[in-house]
Symmetry: D2
Amino acid sequence: MTTLLLTGFEPFGDHFVNPSEMIAKELNGQEFSKIQVIGKTIPLRFNEIKREITELIDKYEPEIIINMGQASRSAISIEKVAINLANTNKIVYNCGSKPEEEILEPSGPTAYFSSLPIKILVEYLNEYQIPSYISYSAGTFGCNQIMYHSLNHISMKKKPPSCIVGFIHLPLLPEQVLNSPHSPSMDYNMMKTSILLVISKLGEVALTG
Amino acid sequence: MTTLLLTGFEPFGDHFVNPSEMIAKELNGQEFSKIQVIGKTIPLRFNEIKREITELIDKYEPEIIINMGQASRSAISIEKVAINLANTNKIVYNCGSKPEEEILEPSGPTAYFSSLPIKILVEYLNEYQIPSYISYSAGTFGCNQIMYHSLNHISMKKKPPSCIVGFIHLPLLPEQVLNSPHSPSMDYNMMKTSILLVISKLGEVALTG
Amino acid sequence: MTTLLLTGFEPFGDHFVNPSEMIAKELNGQEFSKIQVIGKTIPLRFNEIKREITELIDKYEPEIIINMGQASRSAISIEKVAINLANTNKIVYNCGSKPEEEILEPSGPTAYFSSLPIKILVEYLNEYQIPSYISYSAGTFGCNQIMYHSLNHISMKKKPPSCIVGFIHLPLLPEQVLNSPHSPSMDYNMMKTSILLVISKLGEVALTG
Amino acid sequence: MTTLLLTGFEPFGDHFVNPSEMIAKELNGQEFSKIQVIGKTIPLRFNEIKREITELIDKYEPEIIINMGQASRSAISIEKVAINLANTNKIVYNCGSKPEEEILEPSGPTAYFSSLPIKILVEYLNEYQIPSYISYSAGTFGCNQIMYHSLNHISMKKKPPSCIVGFIHLPLLPEQVLNSPHSPSMDYNMMKTSILLVISKLGEVALTG
């Protein structure tokens, strides 16, 4: 049995929900052929994200880590790179923190590439008629932060286990854009299906590799 | 029994489907309490749109006309105004026509306002968590054209029946933006639900008025 | 000598300047071969716009009226149509008015087309390498309002003089987007050159027609 | 005297000009108090960019390197990070190359941060009323590539000289968006002023540091 750690974030800013949390909760505990999903919500607090994610990794020792978050984008976007930096512009962490050009890990490298087979996953989602693309910036907020900490933590393990790590940005839900109807959104079921398809494809690709 | 004429357009440009046609076909023949839906597909041919829509109006004598079309927008947009003009820019009618600043009805007025209770409908969709807004330009292509001809034809009837007329723009479907994933889209079921909610609200508002 | 009435609006919302006012002031009193420019600033007050513009028209009896305003757009956009409606969404008039789907002229027609030779002007600006396009919606705020009142006032004159009337939307200035650097803007000199080119072309086209 | 290597790219895609080349050529050979500018055009050829930029660095041994390029953005954007990757999507290098998720330097790190004082420069441009922002993705085309090679080449020098390196994205010129007038653009003089202001500020900040 393969363990997949699937994280979402709690709501932030003006939002009352966060689809990444909804999916993490809904899929928590489910098994898909060879994959067991551990779904967890991460608080969007600047000084807690590292501890939360590294403790989860140490506790569950997953073979796959998928961190999820939300962004005002029109499609499922799978992130290629996490950078060693936090910078808030107009958004604020839920703890009130507003880091400015702050390094996440003083001794860490400038960036990590995701170890997910991103191109394969994007093509797979497109086959199933779900708009999707590779993104080369996960921003400089919580989403980039958790992705960086996940990749850094795995890379620092003495015997690095065969663990693949990545981040997926979900669009906003339709109910989150009622006051800004010119912003794009995506149906919840399509988001959830996307994550199920990613899990299914990873079961095939990663585990037989 | 109230008759509602619901039109959609055939696909155009690079598209193989048009959600407005899909919904018109799916709802054709259905009855909703007091409302009987006549769903029809209109060819996107510059010289045929007027004849097609006026013949349908004369044949079915509907109390409600909702013309639908698609646009690359992020939400259901209900059009306020139809102008007496066709102008193609980069899109071409399916017949190959490319009208340039062409008047639709030489003896018609410059514009008509929709007679749908637009604000009520937009608020109603928002209550049901569907992103929606009032649009003040239906463009200068087939969508504006059919809306203008519908309103003009009703206005010219000697004994104008109590007919309310309007146009609703649907977003693109997710499968229509796979090659342009930065474009917004909307799930088919949410679009269909929007039209059902509009029909339901019109049953309440328009028929008891 | 031909008289051209050129209006701009005072600043509104968060803005301290309005390029339309700046250009109206700068060109006021200037003569270009056969054209004398009367440049005026219009207060952005819902209940004063009609009176202000009609009094100016009656006082100066211009052969050409160009109303200008600003919009968050990337190019000079020349408006085709003014509709008989005011509706404020998130912006508020400087007097505090927030009309909702309010008719501007109870006895006026639904809309007027501009009588400027729009297509010729857009092509002329493009020749001079200035991004420009025809717009089919002037919105539902002060810009649409002054355009509607100008066209309506001219159309109601018993002996309609040979007066051509239109509206030009200017982009924001670079200094207006410092806090929203993803918004488009345009250099002041390019905006002013645009208006000078429009005046020059109108001198040619309109006056020899 | 401080040497500043300022590079621009040749035009690509449908474009006949590239403002980054124009500025590099115009400022080539100029001296600004303590700074001597060497302006060079780099061919946008996948297999030549590394050789071209490293030869220029070795030849001129600059204390400051500013690589410039163009992007369809609304403001001057100063890049924070260069990643070890090339990936072409719809654009093609002028040599016809279309790298797909290709590593730029097999033995190089995943990414470098710019050593320009980006935040100070953005604030300085804003003071002078020029829209500007920090960008966290230079893309995956020639712009990211030259920035990566510049930073990598400097980092590999045995005795790393005190050299600061960065990349600045210029918007399109107005004449480049005539066929896509909904795209943002910026006046050439404002772009050139931006680069002069950056040079001036670097003269102050970097050289007295």
